[in-house]
Symmetry: C2
Subunit: 342 residues, 2 copies
Amino acid sequence: MTQTMALGEFDLIARHFTRPARRNPLGVGDDCALLAPAAGMQLAVSSDMLVEGRHFLSTVAPERLGHKALAVNLSDLAACGAKPLAYTLALALPRADDAFLAGLAQGLHALADRHDLDLVGGDTTAGPLNLCVTIFGEVPPGAALLRSGARPGDELWISHPLHEDEPGWLGDARLALEVFRGTAGLRVPGEAFDHLRLAMECPEPRVALGLALRGVATSAIDVSDGLLGDLRHVLRRSGAQCPPQGRPLGVVIDADALPRSPLMQGQTAAWQHQCLLSGGDDYELLFTAAPADHHRVLEAGQRSATGVCRIGHLTADGTTTVHDRHGARIATPWASFDHFAP
Amino acid sequence: MTQTMALGEFDLIARHFTRPARRNPLGVGDDCALLAPAAGMQLAVSSDMLVEGRHFLSTVAPERLGHKALAVNLSDLAACGAKPLAYTLALALPRADDAFLAGLAQGLHALADRHDLDLVGGDTTAGPLNLCVTIFGEVPPGAALLRSGARPGDELWISHPLHEDEPGWLGDARLALEVFRGTAGLRVPGEAFDHLRLAMECPEPRVALGLALRGVATSAIDVSDGLLGDLRHVLRRSGAQCPPQGRPLGVVIDADALPRSPLMQGQTAAWQHQCLLSGGDDYELLFTAAPADHHRVLEAGQRSATGVCRIGHLTADGTTTVHDRHGARIATPWASFDHFAP
């Protein structure tokens, strides 16, 4: 049925979100869920909140919203090299809309099943639409990929889809958003837009690559607020850890090496640079590795069926330099995404 | 300073919420937090979302809002008998208000410190005010208090403050809400109101009692949506588990045995019954134990410096009966709190 029904909170939970926990001792329906981490493993935890108009448009299909709410959290596990275990969902809804919840649950369950994830608990309340997923993964002690392990000389890498016709290339989410906004000067034929919007609405978390990069990458982060902005977090945290007492890390990026979709290749150079370098909502893994491990990175990409591309290297001079293939410097005046920027 | 400042998202996090994780390997600032559960322990997880106008009034002091957001989650750990370990906070804010965040953080940190809890991560975004806390505790396998262990004949208990002049007695949060609403017929002198509103704004989670009830209580739940409504969850889940193949559980409650504050004692019988039996926002532990364990329950109360009061017993007849001290039946026409009720 597709009509809006007046269901109580507990009926809603039971109808759409109560499934037997397969891998955890106790799931939805008690005061707490119970997880049993494997002996000796650390638990990786991440929480992301999605708000209408900020993280998704009101026009998004509920299945895709469910997918995205879980995907952005899986992407955080991927960036840590953690194996997904379970998640909770807290949900504020303007009204109890059965069709919306059915779609949302379908999107969540489909992605969760692909990653063998249990939905173990959460909360439902009335309020402006808001989805908060908290996700749990496991990782052996010392094996988590952190933002703090990059060193001068490391190569800088980014993940990408394996095939040209796969959706979700770097920058495409921003390109789709600009088309939605009616921004002038973009070259996106109408028939290509449904494909392009998949980048924004159905990001693919790089979980398998994160696992394959354990013991290979020196640092990792997922690109959610734009490549340059997220890279700054890595440089700051890694720099503070550089022996003997912290030093400023810098980076050199070859903009022409950045992987991009055929649609992106059709845009002006200015739009390409902005979308690729500060687009946001990309959910690719941006990571570093020692040059001696170049081939191990390529192997990790193959093993996880994920594209990986070297786009630059780290320096010890504290500056960020972006150049083209001819060595000409490219200005990057765009700020990283800030939720509270005017 | 108390002025509203335009701070970036990352500045906000750093200023108010980044503290060194004391008990966990990695806290705020990476893609994931890392928890190291003690060997062999299960992890209890709960998530609660608080929305303005539903779970708190816009007039609440930010310190109290911080306290409450964490307290309602600690209460879920208490109801499971789990020892608090860590929590995450996801926060949607209409604007980056430094004074508000300072107060909120103060309320959170103060309660967290009392329970030796690390804030290990979370998220900040712009949006209608919304706080989502996810909390983690540990419990030995098999020791968690569940909603499903009550059996016919068990005594029914509720927790309460130890002293008459402590705030937060059963029903007082509802009484405070009705005063806020300007409901006629209540007898609350103006000078008593500041004390009364503590019940609504500063609930005290019964963590120590929950720990003391491990191995003693047969079931437990925290009263958040009203005593009778929450009790229904226990009866339904416990009934389904009764051997050999499930049976309808019932309950008999002595309304005159329900613990209450002096202010509550001053209300009409009708208001007392409604506030005590279906008030909501109480965060007392409602639990069952075998009659043979009556003294062990009293000892658990003493050990945890928490009042405990026997208010009835479970039956096998599937009905809910509330009577007064003379045995006269009391009608209970109020529904349990439903976030989507009209």
